[in-house]
């Protein structure tokens, strides 16, 4: 029965950074990082897009082999295919998650954390003591790890949260059902990400083209099932691709859920921290979660390390993690969530007219502020929506 200080469940961005940062903050601790799948980073369940500034807090993308594509432009598309081009709107990256996640796990390993692949936590109990007993299955054998702190970074389906008695459930209106293909041999601007908004194409979400290279992209969509006509996400995606890229070769396929809610009310309890998608730490407007997960992982790893050094891994001590997250991004996500709720009522006719009026702003003057101001003057019904964002 191995005794460890920090047991991290899930080697995605949240878990890998948590293990890395915990070990860096307190090198004397035993830190173990578990990955259920046989390879860190695979299968990819992600559109792989990430902003530059957040990424650079953890890793340098310049020339990195875990980058697929550097992005400079954003192309927003209305339901009738009217494009709003935001050229040079800031740098972003499309990652190769199979390599990126492995890179992060390697950082944890370089600090001295043990990385176990094909190792799945299957149960967890406190048993009255001051350590969590976590059952781990690996290669057909089973071991019970005794951990001072368990960091649950086990994604949308988090079981650690459940086992710890935390509420990680989400209402159906705040779940994006997503499907995505890797399409090859298609024609688009490889320096731009494309986002198309339409209740007919992706009700309650958007469809995307995220370039992996010239002629190859992650092409997918997310939708809210409550708003559909009865088809599932894959059927909506098939219809969109049949119209946009009928000749594209489908060389990859994935599905998954993106929670567009706000951070769970309580992301900690005695000896447990929940981070990343598992704690709903996702931007509810964009659905982006990679940088958020890494930032949460850093907070979780550092909080766990400090708490163990102090000899106090109680709920009271670990509450500092939740507060730090809410101060860093959680409160912002509450604002984005209110904005999302306001935007939900825009229909396709309105979006078409919005795109046309925004295009009257000269391309070189299309800053977000100008576009927003222009949109509000032409479409006063947006004012209460935008106002909600700032209250």
């Amino acid at each position: 029965m191995p005794d460890v200080d920090v047991l991290v469940v899930g080697a995605g961005p949240a878990g890998a950074v948590a293990a890395w940062q915990a070990k860096q903050a307190a090198p004397e601790l035993d830190v173990v990082l578990l990955e259920r799948d046989r390879a860190v980073g695979a299968p990819v369940r992600c559109a792989e897009g990430v902003g530059d500034a957040g990424l650079r807090e953890f890793a340098n993308p310049d020339g990195a082999d875990w980058v697929s594509r550097r992005i400079t432009d954003v192309i927003l598309e209305a339901p009738d295919d009217t494009q709003v081009v935001l050229a040079n709107s800031g740098v972003g990256w499309i990652l190769d998650r199979t390599r990126f996640d492995a890179f992060l796990a390697a950082q944890a390993a370089a600090e001295g954390a043990a990385v176990l692949v094909g190792a799945e936590a299957t149960a967890m109990a406190r048993n009255g003591g001051d350590r969590w007993h976590v059952r781990v299955k690996q290669r057909g054998t089973e071991e019970v790890y005794r951990a001072r702190v368990v960091i649950g970074a086990d994604g949308v389906e988090t079981m650690v949260g459940r086992w710890a008695g935390l509420d990680t459930r989400v209402p159906a209106r705040d779940m994006e059902s997503c499907a995505q293909y890797v399409l090859q041999g298609i024609d688009f601007n490889p320096d731009a990400i494309y986002l198309q908004f339409s209740t007919a194409i992706a009700p309650g979400g958007y469809a995307w083209i995220f370039p992996k290279g010239v002629g190859v992209a992650n092409v997918g969509l997310g939708l809210v099932a409550l708003k559909t006509d009865g088809r599932n996400a894959r059927e909506y995606l098939d219809a969109w691709i049949a119209r946009r890229f009928p000749a594209g070769a489908r060389t990859g396929y994935t599905v998954g859920g993106v929670i567009v809610h706000t951070t769970i009310k309580k992301s900690y309890t005695d000896g447990v921290l929940i981070a990343g998608d598992a704690a709903h730490m996702i931007n509810p407007l964009s659905g982006g979660g990679i940088n958020n997960a890494m930032k949460a992982g850093r907070l979780a790893g550092c909080t766990a390390a400090a708490a163990i050094r102090e000899g106090d891994t109680s709920e009271r001590r670990l509450a500092a993690y939740h507060k730090a997250w809410m101060d860093l991004l959680g409160e912002d996500h509450l604002k984005y969530y209110r904005l999302k709720q306001g935007l939900e009522h825009m229909d396709d006719a309105f979006l078409n007219s919005l795109a046309r009026s925004v295009n009257k702003v000269a391309p070189n003057k299309r800053t977000l502020g100008r576009v927003l101001t222009h949109a509000m003057i032409r479409h006063p019904q947006l004012i209460p929506v935008v106002a909600r964002f700032f209250v």
Binding site: E120, G155, R169, M175, R234, V255, G257
Partner: protein
Amino acid sequence: MRRVMPDTIAVVDLAVCDRCGLCLPLCPPEAIHLELNNLTVDEATCTGCEKCIAPCPVGALAMVAYA
């Protein structure tokens, strides 16, 4: 604890299911489990609310009569 026995409960078609885990946080009584690459719906816990059915991206969940 279930108060009323449901007429129908959710079942998963494992040949279609992609094990993405989207349905787990949607389940109010937490009746869905994902372990060792196997998704299961606990029929004793499922209340038949159907919240998991439509959001499945591949249509792997369906309601069946509860025997």
